[in-house]
Each structure stands twice: as C-alpha cells, then as structure tokens.
C-alpha cells in the first residue's frame, strides 16, 4: 500500500533556474499538500499536464526526494527513515533514469538482481520470465545503446521488475512507444494488478488513464484537484469523457493566483 499524507515539495531554485523559469521567487512549490492512497490490486493513475508535479510526487514516493512537508509510507515503511526498506519493495521507472548504454539488457538485469541481493538462480529464473514477457530475448545481448526507444523502454521495465516488487511506480511508462509496444506495457500492468501488486502510474494521455486506471487523481499546478474512479469524475464534473472533464477542471484551477 502507498499512503501519501499532505505531501508538499518545494524546490529551491538556483539563480540560473530562476532566470530560465522567468521568476523572481527562489522557491518553486512543485507539489502542494497532496494526499494519495493506493492499495494492492489496483492501478492508480496520476493525470496532469506538463509541470503539474507528477514526476516530483513519484520521486518522493520512490525515496529519491524527501518531502518538504508531510510523509509517505510504502508497505508500512517510511520513505525517509526507512528508505532502504522501501527501495527493496518498489520498482521505479522514469524517463530520466536510464540503463547504462554500453551494457546489454542481460548485464543490467544481473547487475540489479545482485544489488537486490538475489541469487544467480533467482536472477536466471526471473530473467527467463520477464525477457519472454516483453520480447527481449532477441536483443538481450545487444548494447542498450544500439536498441530502439521501445526496446530500451521494455528492457528498463524488465530490469526494474527483477526483484518481483510489491509496489510498481511507473512515470509515463508508455511515453514514446508505438501502440503495439504500449499495449504490451499496459497489459503487463494489468497482470501485475491481478497479482495483487500496488501499481501507480503517471500519464497525460487521457485514453490511457480511462482504460487502464481503476482510480485517477488529477493534479494541476501541484495540487490534487480531483480523485476517484472514471465514472465518479465524470459525474462530478459533468464531463462527457475524461478529456472533457479534465478541461473543465483545468479552466477552473489553472488560474494565475495558483501559479
């Protein structure tokens, strides 16, 4: 289970960042008092426009960033005080995290298997299952550098799952993938749900959120403005579909004063 309580994350901006973002404030509140609860056997979707704070929220859950305010627990472990325990239970995927380009998927899989303390036998077994699942076998010994975007993403997903984690945190997992490859990924996420894992994904693709997620949290300018199942959101916003609902919310909340 993932429990995010009153999460606020403030980035301190360097002079250069202030200039880039054309702001005079040296602080950027990327996530503002957000609560999230994701339970085993469900796929929770974080939906939001660029810069909404999705990646920041997921990084906090994955222990890479410390909350400025609030706290997060994963499987009952605190992400700040028990970060190593949390890291043992999660798979975390984001487009800024990459596999070493000069190694093969096989090497990276073994490397992370060892870091997770698995035996060679366990690693081999997981590798067989996951490489087959994602169709990696054909290029498993090629350098990651030589793979296409889709192949890289598939390899990255397989590697992140080496230790059969209880919690799966994927930041825009289908970003840049064609529909065939994207389907492989979403199908696997559904399988993980069936296995009783906690799955949290971020996306800005409406149809993906509609089809994949059991519950959706809509996040705009760092604030969670709505949460619920698809039908709950449609009812509450009186939108025709998720896109329509999203724009109604966006018009309402993306005001100058919040920014």
């Amino acid at each position: 289970m993932i429990q995010v309580n009153n999460l606020t994350k403030v980035y301190k901006l360097s002079k250069k960042q202030m200039a880039e973002q054309k702001t005079k404030k040296n602080m950027k509140k990327a996530v503002d008092n957000v609560d999230i609860k994701a339970v085993p056997g469900e796929i929770y979707g974080l939906l939001g426009p660029n810069g909404a704070g999705k990646t920041t929220t997921l990084r906090c859950i994955a222990t890479l960033l410390k909350p400025t305010e609030g706290d997060i627990s994963v499987c009952g472990l605190d992400t700040v005080t028990q970060s190593e325990g949390v890291r043992n239970k999660i798979a975390f995927l984001t487009n800024e995290i990459k596999l070493d380009p000069q190694f093969s998927p096989t090497y990276m899989f073994r490397f992370f298997g060892r870091l997770h303390g698995l035996t060679e036998a366990q690693i081999n077994e997981r590798m067989k299952v996951l490489f087959e699942q994602f169709g990696i076998t054909d290029f498993k010994d090629k350098k990651i550098d030589e793979l296409s975007t889709g192949m890289k993403q598939k390899a990255a997903i397989a590697v992140s799952l080496v230790h059969d984690p209880e919690v799966v945190i994927f930041d825009e997992p289908t970003n840049g993938l064609d529909i065939v490859t994207a389907r492989t990924v979403t199908d696997y996420l559904k399988e993980l749900r069936a296995q009783g894992k906690v799955v949290i994904v971020s996306t800005h693709i409406m149809t993906e959120a509609e089809k994949l997620c059991d519950r959706i949290g809509i996040i705009i300018n760092g604030q969670k403005v709505m949460e619920g199942t698809l039908s709950q959101i449609l009812t509450e916003t009186q939108g025709e579909d998720l896109e329509d609902a999203f724009f109604r919310l966006y018009e309402k909340y993306n005001t100058e004063e919040v920014r």
């Binding site: 980035y11 301190k12 990084r59 994955a62 222990t63 890479l64 960033l65 410390k66 190593e84 325990g85 890291r87 043992n88 999660i90 975390f92 800024e96 995290i97 990459k98 596999l99 070493d100 380009p101 000069q102 190694f103 090497y107 490397f111 992370f112 060892r114 870091l115 997770h116 303390g117």
Partner: protein, 406 residues
C-alpha cells in the same frame, strides 16, 4: 559488502568492455611513451654521429711555419685553407655566420718570431678564433681547435722555450680521477633517481583518476544511470566505496602501465648510454618496496577521493574538467617542490600534508633515509584526509540537491 562488489564490478566491466577506453587508457600511453623516447634517442644519436662525421672547414690566417704538420700529426680531421695576411676575412666571416664555414683562426703576423724572441715584460701574442655558437658544426670545430689543437700547440712551443716542461709543474691533482671517488654507489645513483621519481610518481598516478573519475561519477549523473542505482536497495556509502575501489584499481593499473613504459623507454632515449639510476631500482630492499607501494596506494586513494568529490558536485563533465585541472596543477607543483628541496631537513608534521608529504616520503624511500615516524605520518595524514573526503562524498550522494539538482 555485496553492493560494493557489484558496483565495483560494473565499473571495471564498463572500462574493460570498452575497446576504445582500453586503448586510450592503457595501450596508447605506453606506445606513445615508447615511440616518443625512441624518437628522441634517435634524433640525439643521429645528431651526435653527424657532428662527429662532419669534416669542419677551417680557415687559418698567417699560419706559423710547421703548424700544418703539427695539425696533421694530431690527426685532426679538417679541410683547412691557409690565408695570407693580405687576404680579406669578410667573406669568411659571412660564411661562418651563415653556417657555410666553421672556423677562422687568425695568427698575428710574425707569430713565431714574437714567441721565440720573447723576453720578460714584452707583450704576449694573441691567437684569435672566430666561430658561430649557434651552429653545432662550428661550435664543435672551435672546441676541438681551442681545447685540443691550440693547447697542444701552445705546450709544444712552451717546451721548445723552456726545454723541460715538468720544471714548470709544481704538483698535479688526481691523475686517475675514477680512483678518488668514494661513495655508496646505490645512494649516489639513488640521488639522481630520487630527484625525478617522486615527481613522476606523484604526477602520473593522477592521470588515471582524472580521466576515469569524471566519467564514472559526473558522466553517470548526466546520463541518468546513477539514479537507477540510487533506487536500488543499497546504501549510498556502498555505492561510493564500490566506485572508489574500482577507480583505485584502474588507476593503479594505468600507473603501472606508465611506470613500465617509462622504464622500458627511457634507456632508448640514451641509446646505449649507461643509465645508472634505473639499475638501482632493482636493488631496492623488500622494506623499501613495501613502503613505496603503500605510499603509492594511499596517494591513489587520495587522488580518486578528491576527483570523485569534485565530480559528484559538478553538473556536467565539462564543469568537472574545469575544476579538476587546477587540482592537477597543485599536484604537479607539490611534486616539483620536492624535486628542488632535495633531501634537506623537513619537519615531521609536514609529512602529513597529502601529496607533498607523500612525494617527500618517496624521495626518502629511494635514498634509504625514510624514518618510521616520517613514513607513518605521511600514510596517516593522507589516509585521514581521504577518509574525510569519502565521508563528504557519501554525504553528497545522500543529498537530493547534489544528485537530482533539487
């Protein structure tokens, strides 16, 4: 422990799996060094041969009677042209200037009469030479004529005048110079080596960490591959230690490559000339070698730690490079300082200064003068500093500001 081994293993695999990196790190420096020293040796040897083989063109004005025979009897090889007192010297001087002629010797008119007719108080005649120090052939011809031929000619004229030359010699110093040298041969040649070696070691050991450390830390940060490791359930300290161990191993290896290629190449520079210093390196005692090894290891640890610390704070490899270069200069200066300070007294606490203390200790190992206290101080000092640096690196690894720019 498992984490350390895995992280270090990947670092080594990264370098050894990359043919270009192996080439640029280990093979190219060795080949370059060998080729360079061979070329220098060849050029130097060729130059000397050439000068020896060259027959100088010499002009002599107002040559005294018998001078020609005297020259031939000494077997001085030259193409000599004899000039009369009326001949103009301007053309010849211009030729010497342009390197077409090598030497001009001008005897005063009536030289022999003046010499033979000498009595107390009279003016002593002067033989004047003209040459061009910028030309190798010319300088060589001048040194042969002035030092050998004219001195001998002077002696022979003097002998004619006084009869027995020995009556002019009160005593001599050191007829056979080689028998008068009393020294510990190891120490004497060690002295030469002790001047150069600390500097070379201190400098060369830095090249490995410099070229590897930035890529292994800043490079991984830039590529986003570092973050993937930070999500794995290993302590940050294990990642740091794993990286440092791998980098140290690689640096030692590259230092060995450098050292071996220097030892192989330097004699080629002297091309057959005897190189005493290198022979003594074989006569190190076991204790000296162990001391040298420990000092070098501690030095590598320090270098790796300081480069890593810089690399972890730098945002891009380029930025890291600009910070590492000044450190390299400081290191070189520390090495050079010991080269010139010689074996003068140095206060014990100074040995604790990283790099400087190590260079001084290496110098004393080679001359066999390193005391246990000096050795201990230098090792302890640098290891303590490096450990503090390692702790700082771990702290930086735990900082989201440093690792994620957040």
């Amino acid at each position: 422990m498992n984490g350390i081994r895995t992280v270090a293993g990947k670092e080594l695999a990264r370098v050894f799996g990359d043919k270009k990196l192996i080439f640029s790190l280990f093979i190219m420096p060795a080949v370059l060094m060998f080729v360079l020293y061979s070329l220098i040796g060849k050029a130097m040897g060729g130059m000397m041969d050439d000068i020896e083989k060259h027959v100088p063109s010499v002009y002599v004005q107002n040559a005294p009677e018998g001078f020609d025979e005297f020259t031939k009897s000494l077997e001085v090889d030259s193409e000599t042209t004899y000039l009369k007192s009326t001949d103009s010297l301007d053309d010849i001087k211009a030729n010497i200037k342009s390197g077409d002629a090598d030497l001009l010797i001008v005897f005063p008119e009536n030289f022999l009469e003046t010499v033979n007719g000498y009595s107390n108080g009279m003016e002593i005649p002067e033989v004047k030479t003209y040459y061009n120090p910028a030309e190798d052939y010319s300088s060589e011809a001048r040194s042969t004529y002035a030092n050998t031929l004219l001195t001998a000619y002077q002696q022979s004229l003097l002998a004619d005048r006084v009869g027995d030359l020995n009556s002019l010699t009160v005593f001599q110093v050191d007829l056979d110079e080689s028998t008068s040298i009393i020294t510990d041969e190891g120490k004497a040649s060690g002295k030469m080596l002790s001047m150069m070696l600390p500097y070379l070691i201190v400098m060369l050991l830095f090249t490995g960490p410099m070229s590897l450390g930035v890529d292994a830390i800043t490079g991984e940060k830039e590529r986003g591959t570092m973050a993937s490791m930070l999500v794995a359930p290993v302590k940050r300290s294990q990642i740091v230690v794993g990286k440092i161990i791998a980098l140290s191993l690689l640096s030692c290896l590259s230092a060995i490559v450098y050292a071996v290629s220097i030892i192989i190449s330097v004699p080629r520079m002297f091309n057959g000339m005897e190189v005493d210093g290198l022979a003594t390196s074989a006569s190190f005692s076991i204790l000296q070698m162990v001391q040298l090894l420990l000092i070098m290891l501690s030095l590598v640890y320090f270098y790796v730690a300081i480069v890593t610390l810089i690399a972890v704070f730098a945002k891009t490899a380029k930025e890291a490079g600009t910070y590492v270069s000044p450190v390299y200069i400081v290191v070189i200066v520390a090495g050079v300082l010991t080269m010139f300070s010689g074996n003068s007294e140095m206060q014990l606490p100074l040995f604790a200064i990283p790099v400087y203390g190590s260079a001084a200790a290496i110098q004393r190992v080679i001359t066999g003068e390193l005391t246990a206290a000096q050795f201990g101080t230098s090792i302890l000092g640098i290891v303590v500093v490096s450990t503090i640096l390692t702790a700082l690196i771990t702290k930086a690894f735990n900082s989201e500001k440093v690792m994620f720019n957040a």
